[in-house]
């Protein structure tokens, strides 16, 4: 340890004129394209994030089966289309053109949808990577590690409709913040508008789901109604946070939501429900239909909050319980009054 030479830097005075100011963002690296090393970022925090659903490694016969099926199907469809065209042109040129244009419109729309959903998928993946990075940073009190993250976040929101306010907040990050503080600042300031919208959206849909289920006369319809509401809510939340709401992205998000809800475990769910019910203390007055409605509403709220968490590139530090409690209270009053008015 006792090295003859010291291992610290000598304090030095410098010429004030020769100095560049660092801008408010901490010593920003000018935006260069650094390939984000995604795999590394993920396995540094195995315990914080929700573990990704394990991809089932498909065996080669299965893969060969899908490939050949797809090839077969597209061949069949192609041949069928060709025959259709041939037949319609043979009948009349006008009919032929009509069919041809229909086919073109169809393929165009299909391609567009495909692109959109691919974009949505890419954005979801990117969001997840950013979130893992943010979670990693939020446990550090080192300095300067967040600069790269800020660049990526800025790029992520570059074509978002409200990019100005988000990017302005990103630029507000103070130069004295350490990495954890940067994340804390951003997660409570960068997305306030979006969070507010998303929360309103969740509230609207869970109230609607609750009421629909409570009032629907067919019990078997419940699941369908709640599911339909949930899907619409997911779409809205996705577009609020700027994720293109294509079908496949929506399905991916839904999968992630269910996965994370399942991961939270039964005990957590029970605790959640228990505390929300205790908090309101008014559930005893509800009929059994109305309590089913309450259940559906709370489920929707939970799905919504989880989706919100998954669409944000920054960790979510809203007290989930208090949101749930407030919603439960509102649901109960609404269902109670709804039951009363419909009873009369």
């Amino acid at each position: 340890m006792s090295s003859s030479k010291h291992d610290w830097h000598r304090p030095t005075f410098l010429d004030p004129a020769s100095i560049e100011n660092t801008d408010t963002r901490q010593g920003f690296i000018p935006a260069t394209d650094i390939p984000p090393d995604e795999a590394e970022a993920v396995d540094e925090t195995p315990e914080t994030g929700i573990p990704e659903p394990k991809k089932q490694k498909s065996t080669w016969p299965a893969r060969a089966l899908t490939a050949s099926l797809i090839a077969l199907l597209s061949l069949a469809v192609g041949a069928e289309l060709y025959r259709l065209l041939d037949w319609s042109f043979g009948l009349h040129t006008l009919l032929g053109t009509a069919v041809a244009s229909l086919i073109i419109v169809c393929t165009g729309c299909g391609l567009w949808q495909l692109r959109r959903s691919l974009k949505g998928l890419r954005q979801l993946r990117h969001t997840r990577d950013l979130r893992t990075e943010a979670q990693r940073l939020s446990t550090r009190n080192s300095h300067g590690g967040a600069a790269h993250f800020l660049n990526r976040l800025e790029a992520h929101y570059r074509d978002h409709p409200q990019q100005d306010s988000i990017i302005q907040q990103i630029h507000q990050v103070d130069s004295s913040y350490n990495d954890a503080e940067v994340i804390r600042f951003l997660s409570s300031h960068a997305l306030t508008k979006q969070d507010k919208l998303a929360r309103a959206c969740i509230r609207k849909h869970s109230l609607a789901a609750g009421t629909l289920v409570a009032l629907s006369p067919w019990a078997s319809f419940d699941m369908l109604l709640a599911g339909w509401r949930n899907l619409r809510m997911l779409r809205e939340i996705m577009s609020i946070y700027g994720v293109a709401p294509g079908a496949s992205a929506q399905i991916r998000l839904l999968k992630q939501v269910f996965h994370s809800i399942a991961f939270a475990g039964i005990s957590d769910l029970a605790l959640d429900a228990g505390s929300t019910f205790l908090g309101t203390g008014l559930t005893s007055g509800l009929s059994s239909r109305a309590s089913q409605g309450l259940g559906a509403g709370l489920f929707t709220a939970r799905t919504g909050l989880t989706a919100m968490e998954l669409c944000r590139p920054l960790p979510f530090n809203v007290r989930r319980n208090s949101v749930m409690k407030r919603l439960a209270g509102e649901l109960v009053t609404q269902l109670a009054t709804g039951a009363r008015t419909s009873g009369r």
């Binding site: 304090p11 100095i19 560049e20 901490q26 407030r326």
Partner: protein, 475 residues
């Protein structure tokens, strides 16, 4: 809505308003915040900056990491009269800091108090049953740091205090400067009738000694009695002229009436009763939360003796506060401090990448005190902060390397400086590590604080300190 709806429907409209007000008054919260720190640690600047940011709460968003402020639940803040004590000279201090040639407020000479009412919106619907809006009353006193070291004297008597002081005076670095005075002190015959002129003369010389210890080559902190140190009159009141007895005195014969020993014992008692006890009982026995400001950079600048002395002084001071968990009953009748923030002030004197090291260094410095507190299940935390940020982050290229450094204006001359002030060690330096030119933390003149339009960049972590100390009250 739920429960509130049911309740309010039971009460006629006329009473509703009054009941609401009574409820608010019953549940309103008072917080006595102890701003503790030795002289020069930055108490006055901290209070001034804190009050300024709080008063501007409704207009500026300068405290982004204060949760209630981030959620836009803080309505506003205003000062209210605190009867009895001199008001804290907030306007004067702010004028000094926001002048076109800004300067730091002068060292505090007297006790003063400020009380703020902060209005906030409760965060959850359950809590809103108490009324949507709540008020937190924040009570802060400012006082000369020297007075703090008088508090432990209340728990001692003259002889035990003398014993402790003698041990200090006979050790380095004090003994070199005090040799002459010690000799004169030992020459006193404590059992002979008191020679008042001689005692007073020694008292005056002791004051000069204390004052010289406070100044830079020594820069010591453990200086008692504080009121004597601060007195400036050429012949202060006799009871102030208190100094320790450094010779061995046998106690077998008792204390003869009218002897020097009797006189000094009387002075000690009188000193405690007149100057120290009122200060203690009126203000110091009712704190709920505490922030302890320390100037770690000064110790690094001055070396090991300064460090050891400050550590000793801090530990001595902290024995005068009551720590522990508050029950509801205790909070109403004899509160204890249940949360303590140790803060390394003047964090703007080092580059931002050294803040974590500064935290760590502070942790090392207050390690023992913290352990005691944790034993009483008191929450503690260490944090580097700057109440008024007076430097700018900058970069310089030196020997081909990019060096982060600071830009500011010198406190003494006001000329612009840029420097790399050195790195803060994360381990307690060993004796041979205290190197003459390892650290160069210079004092900066303040950057003018605007009267409105405050920004987060005008402070460092003031919002987080406030969040830690008061955040739970705004839930």
């Amino acid at each position: 809505m739920g429960l509130t709806g049911h309740l309010t429907s039971l009460i006629s409209d006329a009473h509703k308003d009054r009941l609401q007000r009574v409820a608010e008054r019953t549940f309103e919260q008072h917080l006595n915040l102890a701003v503790t720190g030795l002289s020069g640690s930055g108490k006055t600047v901290f209070i001034t900056a804190l009050v300024h940011h709080l008063l501007q709460l409704d207009q500026d968003n300068s405290l982004p990491l204060l949760e209630a402020a981030a959620e836009k639940r803080l309505l506003g803040c205003r000062p209210i009269d605190a009867p009895g004590t001199r008001p804290f000279p907030f306007k004067g201090n702010l004028a000094a800091l926001s002048a076109s040639e800004p300067h730091w407020p002068r060292s505090t000479r007297d006790l003063s108090q400020i009380r703020l009412a902060i209005r906030y919106r409760r965060s959850t619907s359950i809590k809103r049953l108490l009324g949507e809006w709540g008020t937190v009353y924040l009570n802060i006193i400012d006082y000369p740091g020297e007075w703090l070291l008088d508090l432990p004297m209340l728990q001692q008597d003259f002889l035990s205090w003398s014993q402790q002081q003698t041990n200090l005076l006979q050790a380095s670095p004090r003994v070199e400067a005090a040799a002459q005075w010690l000799k004169a002190n030992r020459a006193i015959d404590w059992h002979a009738p008191a020679n008042l002129a001689q005692l007073n003369q020694l008292g005056l010389e002791f004051r000069d000694l204390l004052q010289s210890f406070r100044e830079p080559p020594h820069a010591l902190s453990m200086l008692q009695p504080g009121h004597l140190l601060l007195s400036e009159a050429s012949s202060p009141e006799q009871d102030l002229l208190l100094f320790p007895l450094t010779a061995e005195v046998s106690n077998e014969t008792g204390t003869p009436e009218g002897s020097a020993l009797a006189e000094m014992t009387r002075r000690y008692r009188s000193y405690c009763e007149r100057w120290v006890r009122p200060f203690y009982t009126e203000h110091f026995s009712r704190f709920d939360r505490q922030i302890i400001l320390t100037d770690c950079l000064k110790t690094l600048n001055q070396g090991e003796a300064c460090f050891d002395d400050m550590q000793l002084a801090l530990n001595t001071i902290l024995s005068s506060f009551h720590y522990g968990k508050n029950s509801l009953f205790r909070r109403l009748f004899s509160p204890r401090i249940d949360r303590v923030l140790f803060a390394a002030t003047k964090a703007d004197h080092v580059t931002a990448n050294q803040h974590a090291n500064l935290d760590r260094f502070l942790e090392l410095m207050v390690h023992d005190a913290r352990k005691e507190m944790r034993f009483e299940s008191v929450q503690t935390r260490c944090m580097a902060l700057a109440s008024v940020r007076s430097t700018q982050a900058a970069q310089a290229r030196k020997d081909g390397q990019l060096l982060s450094c600071l830009k500011g204006y010198r406190k003494e001359t006001g000329e612009p400086v840029a420097l790399f002030p050195g790195e803060i060690p994360t381990e307690l330096p060993r004796a041979e590590d205290w190197h003459q030119d390892r650290f160069r933390f210079i004092d900066f003149a303040p950057r003018a604080l605007p009267r409105s339009g405050l920004k987060p960049e005008h402070h460092i972590r003031l919002d987080q300190a406030l969040e830690y100390l008061t955040g739970d009250l705004f839930r």
